[in-house]
Symmetry: D2
Subunit: 351 residues, 4 copies
């Protein structure tokens, strides 16, 4: 499916009333090759977009409808921003001509038994799960370009995978003792009202959650294991930070025999040299989430530890961009034969 | 000076290491008709832009130099982001072929004696002060388009002036008892280290400052007096809010005899109907600064007070965009004969 | 009811799982003359306090029970932290021997018709409403000391009333054109999950709400009218600020003929000279909410406006202390014949 | 030196204009056995305390003087809140009758060569360095009680040491692969104006700093090595969080052969069973810094990792209390023969 001349890719978004939905809309508003054609939001059906997201009032967008009201014949592609669990059945019901990027967790885990273990239910679209391509763009570009269904990566796995996959493939870090300590803003927790994400409960403090039990752990393991060609199991601890956007991951690794932090830096710099969105920062510089806010960028920092044989990697992304909607659009661009960076050109917003 | 074909307007920025400078750079990075050619930053001369603003590392920009190192022959236009007081002499020394938008306060006050009263020194470029056009774009578009030197409005005056000028011109609000209670984020205070803008001194609290004595008061008075064709003096109180960006102004007015809040809404809606950046929000809706963050938008809300004969107006802007660099670029576009919205198309970033 | 020797006042708290409830508990934990005996929390009945408020884990407190499980014979006094509307019936059912401080809005408005107008329902305990004493401690101390039922003031009215009542009583400000622009932290919105108080919806921004329609308006009018001995109706606009605690009120007044800001300062300084919790700050100083955080203090600033005949007053409180639980305890101390400041001695927490 | 009857310990504070100084003052204001007698602040000498810290205006405190103006004969004890480097000479000049708690880093490192390596200069009071007792109260209580000079621990080391020392002493965790990922609020960076701690530079973002090079690393190593009876070197990464107060440390450890996370929990629970300030939280609970804000508490959480043979420990403190001034007062109480908890009884402030 090419974008032929004036014909824009006609886009539908399921679950458009959440933060990933609104972020997609913000990006698509400036995307010359795509046109937002339908928006669903089950409980907000009937509302105008500006009522749900006043910041998008200046955008020319269709009203919100229910999922069932979608006319798929009028669409070329769909972004699915629904909660995990309910997503798989919606996607199973989509006609085959549609390109689909799913932002939920439903198709990220290749092994149905791992899915069942971590999500507490059998997968209800196992064939699709097999078909789905994992959408970490820089690492799976060719497969994504050819895919019909892309499982967009989780917000937490994205940064660490970008940093670790090249190093594991090169055999420069040990797969056995990887620790990922991640710090996230609150938008990753979604727009559903919960006590735990009230301002008064998140402001002026920090805490870990899902310690040793977060569902992004098996997703990280899966990709790192492929890269290492051997089973890798990481320690992963997410923390909630009083900020809206951003994920910083601090990654502690053992160097493989003979490798140095300088080698890691060289590998990553080379790997991402031509990438528009992934940047290895200068030696001694620590990446900050505010330096990627609102952009699809991922910054990677590399430090030798003071203890021999260890290194510290730092990755910074905007969880709603490279950690969700930005990468989703990057993938959809590829799937639709468009320039990968279209709609993602803006620089970070600081301060 | 038209942008002829491939020839881009060559832009210099004095004072590029502050927040208004970096915001201009962010906008210019996506401006097809302008090219950032020279950057000065007196104390950071010699540094690469990425060292001062890592979030702009992906931008292709020249290194920082000292003010004296500018070769004005290689420039078509200059943005001046220097501190007030020092600006007037720099601008007085600029060659006549340059278009200049000054973001300092130096040329905003038309009356030299008012300047001297509020800034504690005589103005050293009185002729230029007379020549300078006040740059509230929507209200002075024609004069701006013809100007060589534009005094970009202060961050606080912008929203209230946009709301009040049409109403005073129409005689719908009294000029005598206007109260402007404004709430600003911290970026308006600049990047110079001061105890008062440390995170620990601003976080988790709110306070007023410059009560009855802020230098934006005479600037507001000047424009409102012109609109009312009679001297207007407002009460203006700025407050510092624990956020990076945004100014909300809550404006209390007396209605002129016979006028209602509905009339005010009608006037403003009509006045700004075709404006790309100024929007009157729906009845009953309260504009929020987060709905304009990162954009050049100004939202205006209109409420009848519960007390007869009074109304409450609310304006929300991003202080670095419509309150500074966004409006500066909007003005420069006009001055250079470019489409006014170029480089300012992006939607707000929320959350 | 005196605190005789070792016998502590036995305290029950209805609605202990909200922020005002937890703040009372924090204060009572260090109150030598009171003992927390029973706690209710309808939907959290059966839980230990530490499960609902981990920060109070070190406190020796009873488990949460349902409202119906209270044995009032074992209590001397009750704090009622229930939502407005449901409170009046609970309090109507309390035995007569109990001292009661109600933190809801149910008994603040003396006129049942005003209550019905603003709360959309008839009052169901009109006799009690008549009996209830309005609990702005510094202004109604004698009546409070003799009361059985005290209606604790709203968070917003407290500061402005403390500033304005002495001035209206003295005839130094006009009652006709008072504007109160208030800025509050999020804890005032309670612990119930709502989209509007999620971190992502409140962080990095500011907005007004309840413009010209907030229920604290008639409460302010009522007390100011008493002070002025003539009907007073104020303009009151609350704003939500990205901080947990604190209310700053910026108050714009017309001076009465012959009065100056200096006179206002003198009146307030004299009136509160011996008060432990209300302080008029030095001339030129602007009070900040962070300077009262965690304390029962109210700071008052007085400024002459640049426009003749007007003044600007600023009040800062912690909405959970002087704006709710602190003042409630201050009142209960009085009602129980204890030293008024007991349990309220701590200084503000900064930063 | 006992507190005999009415005679209060006479306290002096050097460096009273910083955050640790003001926090000491807040605590001492409610300390029945100590009296603040002298305060120094080199650059603020001559000011009243309320001018430097308005939140302490209600406190009866002496004016600020220069260091040289101290009359040590009128003092029994001194808290030293001066910057590291300058502190050692000031303390070397103190008369021998004074009890001293030093909150700087100058006397924390027992080995002068380690000091020289990390602080870039030779120590100028090596004898005192030898005499100084490291003041982690719960672990060195006896020595502290007998000491004349106590080196108060750094803010970062405190939590991790409390968690790790008992486990290393018991041989339940390996000393070889300890990773401490710490997240701190901004007050730890002090009140000196620096670009890096401006609100606009810290708000809405997170970053690591001092990666593999922070000066608290050797301090942690020193105490853990003593506990393990073998050299221990940790990986320590501090991060700056947009909040005023609090440090959360996420600690990754290898279990010793045969040990389980349950064993670690049992050891820590037993060790701190009677401690008033150190609390092991319930299984599955993740401690939050907001649960200790304003208190001297340290919360410890223990989790089994999903990878066998590893555990995750979490510690939460308020950096200005248990991480600085609270622990300093706790130590001084011990040194003066007072009840250790005096002045430190208040519960955390939440939200």
């Amino acid at each position: 499916m090419k974008n032929n001349g004036a014909n824009k890719i006609r886009i539908g978004i399921h679950g458009a009333s959440g933060y990933t939905g609104s972020e997609l809309l913000r990006l698509l508003a400036r995307h010359g090759g795509m046109e937002v054609t339908m928006l669903s939001a089950e409980r907000r059906a009937g509302l105008r977009l500006a009522e749900v997201f006043p910041h998008l009032a200046a955008m020319n967008a269709p009203d919100l409808v229910s999922i069932d009201a979608f006319d798929y014949d009028a669409l070329d592609a769909v972004f699915c921003c629904l909660p995990h669990g309910t997503t798989q059945e919606v996607i199973a019901g989509l006609p085959a001509h549609l390109k689909v990027v799913d932002l939920s967790a439903d198709f990220r885990l290749a092994d149905p038994s791992v899915y069942a273990e971590w999500y507490g239910q059998e997968h209800r679209a196992v064939d699709l799960q097999r078909e789905a391509v994992y959408g970490l763009t820089e690492l799976h570009r060719t497969a994504i370009a050819a895919a019909r269904l892309v499982a967009n990566p989780g917000c937490y796995p994205t940064g660490p995978q970008l940093a670790l996959v090249p190093l594991l493939e090169n055999g420069q870090v040990e797969g056995e003792d990887i620790i990922i300590d991640a710090k996230s803003g609150t938008s990753g927790a979604g727009r559903e009202p919960k006590q735990g994400t009230l301002f008064s409960e998140v402001g002026e403090g920090v805490h870990a959650y899902g310690v040793a039990a977060h569902r992004h752990s098996p997703e990280i393991d899966q990709i790192l294991s492929q890269a290492a060609s051997t089973p890798v199991s990481v320690t992963f601890t997410p923390h909630l930070i009083p900020m809206n956007r951003g994920i910083l991951a601090t990654i502690y690794v053992h160097l493989a025999k003979g490798a140095s932090a300088t080698d890691l830096r060289a590998t990553l710099t080379k790997r991402y040299y031509d990438e528009p969105f992934v940047h290895v920062v200068s030696e001694g510089v620590s990446p900050e989430t505010r330096q990627v806010r609102g952009s699809n960028h991922c910054l990677i920092g590399v430090f030798a530890d003071r203890r021999p044989g260890r290194a510290i990697l730092l990755t910074a992304i905007d969880n709603l961009l490279k950690g969700a909607s930005g990468q989703a659009l990057q993938n959809m661009n590829l799937m639709c034969g468009l320039t990968e960076t279209t709609g993602l050109e803006q620089l970070p917003l600081f301060p």
